[in-house]
Symmetry: D2
Subunit: 251 residues, 4 copies
């Protein structure tokens, strides 16, 4: 079986602006995530980052990506529109996309999910989060040891969050300060799938937690493209197919 | 405009077994709910209870009911199968059904929603519940003053709850002890609608809270039947309609 | 009861480019729709069009609109970004939006629903469409006389259509040439609701059909804003609310 | 990788009552389906049928089944309640269930999906069906060569069909006589998944069509159980967990 080609992309951490994040993830968050993913034989991992040429998202890179894992929060505006469009086209053609933390604010996510509210709600005090399984049957739950995952310190994002109504809800989070969030949800877009998983933060060692690593690993596998080469045609059917593809004569 | 005919049904409270409940709702829970509903000119309220003939759910009562509000938890087995079937038929033909508290366990709810899990999770210690609005646009939110409703003392039901996947999620609750629940959800069944709203308990004065009363009042209006007299046919079309209801000749 | 303020907006018809459309709708499509809506006492109708100052969608107009009905297909690019943004903001704050025919391609729809596919499929030969009711319980079905609506001549849009997964599916259409479409669907966005209803075409008298008029009339009522003045706050909760809005002391 | 243990179960064909079916499927439908599934190395297939002891659904059989494929239409009442309950329990604990053709009427399906309408609509004249892909991204589409599958002769089941609102819609069918159906849909129940796929009939060689075989093969893989041993606890949390599983002291 051929390996799943995973690109872990992050916007990078600024040692001056984000010293606590650098302390948590000295080689950047993409290296942490790529590190635990690459311990699995079926995953072939490559790292890229915003500061590279073409924002680390050239056509060649995307053509060799089955699943793109995305981490951004501060520098969404620095992504070029061209790079964003390339990501969107790749997803619509089948590439999987995992949106971590607050990555729903990135350009390609906004392009595919649309504007759904006039703002969001958050609190950054390192409170506890408990991530509850809602759909036990989903392959993203494979091997979880409890009905919830405890995240000792987290940033709160809370309902009403104003996300596009998900196709499926996998997790709902409880926050110590009194809020809840649909924190693990999926959508499909064209031939591609999206998994949004918020639990993770640059200043806390969330991505070192074994159960969080399981969810991200399972999510990567679930995002693997479905190959349907025959399903790509679009356009004006007047010009390219017969009027009645089914023979209705004589009925 | 004709009034909405609302039947508030409850299983009744046993003064010996449930003294705290009787202290909270001396005239029974249906009287409390019927009381605040009947202050609205567009609602015409009738009360019924399990101990009446035909379990208070005779065909005549149901034929004169637009919306049935249901409260039960302990005595679900005492409802006759005949009464349950009458309720199911009424919903499939358009009657609205509001399931309060743990009423998802009642026979007609189980008949329409099916078995979805091998059990549920609960805790009854009077902890705080915060009921968050997820879908601000829904008419059941009309007039709410905040993005959440605080219930000072509640019984916890928690995810993974094993409910039939809802058509729409309106509320998600936070519980002080660490759980979450999709606590206000809707389904449609045939020509009828169901609104399941868990926040409420017989030993706490939940149904006296103004915001909870608003949700139940709005929910009653939302459950009003849609009249589609022409949509009732079912059966084998071989026998009753022409083979090709659309003329396909000559195409 | 105060009336629902309905603005029926269209891009207008060009007598030279669209003579058949002008023959069908001599006073433009918005006048046809506004005409049958204004026969209902609870609806107060105003007409606007793309060629007016500020594209007929000034802030003043939108501030006085409860429900906006939209008809466009050819001139979506002529709408200013400012007008599109005003419409999006109005929906997120509660205004209802009905998207007719192929109006899913208009700027505000694309902004809220996102990019969902790399193209669509259509055929414009005047074939028959049969619009099937999927959800009989929805208020948009009020008074329908059959389980389907026959549209003698229609333009085909077909699955896989690449729309954002709907919150709820109300209608699915059958087309004579062999295609199907989720042709009546809803979403919520912030405090507002969207109803997309494709059955209707500028060159056929679809909007003169009584059952289509019923759906549009019912849809207008369903799109009425929900008033939740207390639900508007957004922002960083660190700065504006106490850390623990629920008192957790002593637990 | 261990094989997926697939049990293909059918009610059996009566040579006297169903001679056309026997001509199409001389060794019964389960043998036909098991035959093409067993050509795949990752699937280990066993056949069972209604007439066996314990209806071919003993606890031992179910304990050794990862995915159960079900074919029934005429003899649903002959299944014992005990066998039905064993199937329901197995699904809630993770076993996948594929419901073919009209198998939604079987006891375990009715037990899990509930009553959703007061009847259904069908026509059995051997008309054409075109099965359209709605969600291109789903693994059940793997390898499909077109955006639709043509079934030359089919039995029609039509909307409004009165099924429990699906978690996800994969296929919508077009029927020559004018109807449509959500013909490939999924639900999750407890730890298990259900795939309902209607396209197939005992009197037509539907299950010999290569594209239909692909969907059933992909569906079998998709239904593979997710292993979450830690997620099985249910019950009264008063008795088994501390009141505050998260330490709220000092906040």
């Amino acid at each position: 079986m051929s390996k799943i080609r995973v690109t872990v992309w992050s916007e990078g951490l600024d040692p001056k602006l984000e010293p606590k994040a650098v302390a948590c993830y000295p080689d950047d968050i993409n290296a942490c995530i790529g590190g635990f993913l690459s311990r699995h034989d079926d995953l072939q991992v490559t790292l890229h980052t915003l500061s590279e040429p073409e924002n680390g998202l050239s056509q060649e890179i995307l053509d060799n990506t089955d699943v793109l894992i995305w981490w951004s929060h501060l520098y969404n505006d620095q992504l070029s529109d061209e790079a964003s469009n390339r990501v969107v086209e790749a997803v619509l053609n089948g590439m999987g996309l995992m949106l971590l933390h607050s990555s729903m604010g990135c350009k390609p996510a906004r392009a595919m999910l649309g504007r759904n509210s006039n703002g969001g709600k958050y609190r950054e005090i390192g409170e506890r989060e408990r991530v509850w399984v809602v759909n036990r049957s989903h392959p993203i739950m494979e091997g979880l040891e409890k009905e919830y995952i405890d995240v000792p310190q987290s940033e709160m994002y809370g309902e009403p969050y104003g996300m596009a109504t998900p196709d499926d809800i996998l997790f709902i989070s409880w926050f110590e300060g009194g809020e809840v969030l649909r924190s693990g949800v999926t959508w499909h877009k064209g031939a591609g799938k999206i998994f949004f998983f918020t639990s993770g933060h640059e200043e806390f060692p969330t991505y070192h937690l074994p159960e969080i690593q399981k969810v991200i690993t399972n999510g990567t596998r679930w995002l693997k493209p479905t190959h349907t080469p025959g399903l790509s045609f679009r356009g004006n059917l007047d010009k390219v197919t017969p009027l009645s593809p089914i023979n209705l004569e004589g009925k």
